[in-house]
């Protein structure tokens, strides 16, 4: 092994202090005291790799995984509430999520590998703010909001207003902690699906992830509404609202689905990238996956369409 290889191989992430608060108040107090030097760690699967590559500099880590009550999935009235510390594995295997938000179980099941899904959390997936976050994209399609707590109180932010750029969100990481994600459980006339294109079937970042929620009227002849979320084909994961508008309350037909899928491609803003392909290719794939996603949603509702 030459010296350079040895150096890269042995490079370890560094921080000076590791806090393990037992309550949310304690965690928030530590953040307030340390301000910019501290970073919250949950599963750590993104953060530790970033610290190692010096994309993040930290003096202290504040591990929130010992705080009770943030690791539950539950249904409350019409809402599904997911604690920020629930792991991708727990989401992908949850009967409640599989039954009432299948697109999310599918998306979480694509994250990394079993090793990553066992540690990585849904809260972390959102807070990392990556445009291709596989659990975040279905949550956008499901119309999710996040609860964020600080010493001053709490606020609820719709995911559509959460992301501001690659790796950037409206969360003030010096004073706030994301604690919960909530969204309406799908009803009988609604179905969802997440489709994904990547170089391999495991351990590969997505070229494209597309999530759709489809709802139809009582006679299964017309769409009620359709929600389409896409990434990473813009600086942030986003809803293809023009395409959604094409389908809202319209009669179900394959021609219209193709038209909406084309509109989603036009709304996307991918760049040519050596890992993910050319701009044209990526745009074309948006149309393909959106079309398939809507069809899959309709199939899951046993709606015939032609």
């Amino acid at each position: 092994m030459n010296l350079k290889t040895a150096w890269v191989w042995s490079k370890k992430p560094h921080w000076d202090k590791y806090y393990r608060p037992e309550t949310l108040d304690e965690a928030l107090a530590i953040l307030e005291r340390l301000w910019e030097g501290a970073k919250v760690i949950a599963g750590g699967t993104d953060l530790l790799a970033q610290i190692r590559k010096k994309e993040q500099e930290v003096e202290a880590l504040v591990d929130i995984t010992r705080i009770p009550g943030l690791d539950k999935i539950r249904m409350e009235g019409e809402l599904i509430r997911i604690g920020a510390l629930v792991t991708h594995r727990e989401i992908s295997q949850s009967p409640l999520i599989r039954g009432k938000a299948l697109a999310l179980a599918e998306g979480a099941g694509w994250v990394g590998s079993p090793q990553i899904r066992n540690m990585g959390t849904v809260g972390g997936n959102i807070v990392s703010g990556q445009p291709g976050a596989d659990a975040t994209i279905p949550l956008l399609a499901l119309g999710a909001s996040v609860k964020v707590v600080s010493r001053l109180g709490e606020r609820t932010i719709p995911l559509t207003a959460f992301f501001t750029g690659p790796g950037k969100t409206v969360l003030d990481i010096t004073s706030e902690i994301l604690t919960e994600i909530s969204f309406p459980a799908l009803r009988g006339n609604e179905a969802s699906a997440t489709l994904r294109l990547a170089k391999r079937k495991a351990l590969a970042l997505p070229i494209l992830t597309a999530s759709v929620v489809v709802s139809v009227d009582g006679e299964k002849k017309r769409f009620d509404h359709v929600r389409i979320a896409l990434g990473p084909v813009a600086p942030v994961p986003f809803r293809a609202s023009d395409a959604e508008g094409v389908l809202a309350s319209a009669p179900i037909s394959d021609e219209l689905i193709r038209k909406a899928a084309q509109r989603a491609a036009e709304e996307s803003n991918p760049r040519s990238n050596p890992l993910r392909g050319s701009e044209t290719y990526r745009r074309d794939m948006v149309a393909v996956l959106v079309e398939r996603g809507i069809s899959k949603g309709l199939d899951r509702l046993e709606v015939k369409h032609g």
């Binding site: 790799a49 995984t65 079993p114």
Partner: protein, 155 residues
């Protein structure tokens, strides 16, 4: 940096250790405990060579701060066999020729053990998913999968 005291059970043995705040589980195992069966490939969760079973779940130990494992139970490849006997999976890997250079083997075995503990009769697709977090750069996947299939329940 002030060291912190942690207690972890490694392969059934309780250990009390003083660790640096930024010590990672993989380095604790290899450097402090001499358990070098756990390998280091990429140090960023991509290759899976550092996989161990932590509290019943397969994890990449390069992404786990040692302090996070405080109070937990860790199984490494050194703890897979019992009473001087190889685990049936290890025997199957030997019999099926599922080892080439050997670098990924500990992680493959632990991934497979974790899979079979949760799902004693996995399908081919489930086996592939189960070991998908570990890369074999000899590309010897076929033999590895055959070895796992050979001891899956029903065979």
């Amino acid at each position: 940096m002030a060291k912190e005291k942690i207690v972890i059970e490694v392969n059934g043995e309780k250990r009390v250790l003083d660790v640096d705040p930024d010590c990672l589980l993989v380095d604790l195992l290899r450097e402090d405990l001499g358990l070098t069966g756990t390998k280091i490939g990429c140090r960023e969760g991509e290759c899976g060579a550092c996989s161990v079973i932590l509290n019943g779940k397969i994890v990449a130990s390069c992404l786990v701060p040692a302090i996070k494992a405080d109070g937990g139970k860790v199984t490494t490849i050194e703890g897979l066999g019992k009473n001087g006997e190889l685990d049936p999976l290890q025997k199957a890997f030997v019999e099926q020729g599922a080892v080439q250079c050997g670098f990924c083997t500990p992680a493959m075995l632990l991934s497979a053990r974790h899979l079979l503990d949760q799902n004693p009769q996995p399908s081919l697709a489930e086996i592939k998913t189960g070991i998908s977090g570990v890369l074999c750069r000899c590309t010897g996947y076929v033999k590895i999968i055959q070895a796992i299939q050979s001891i899956a329940k029903g065979n």
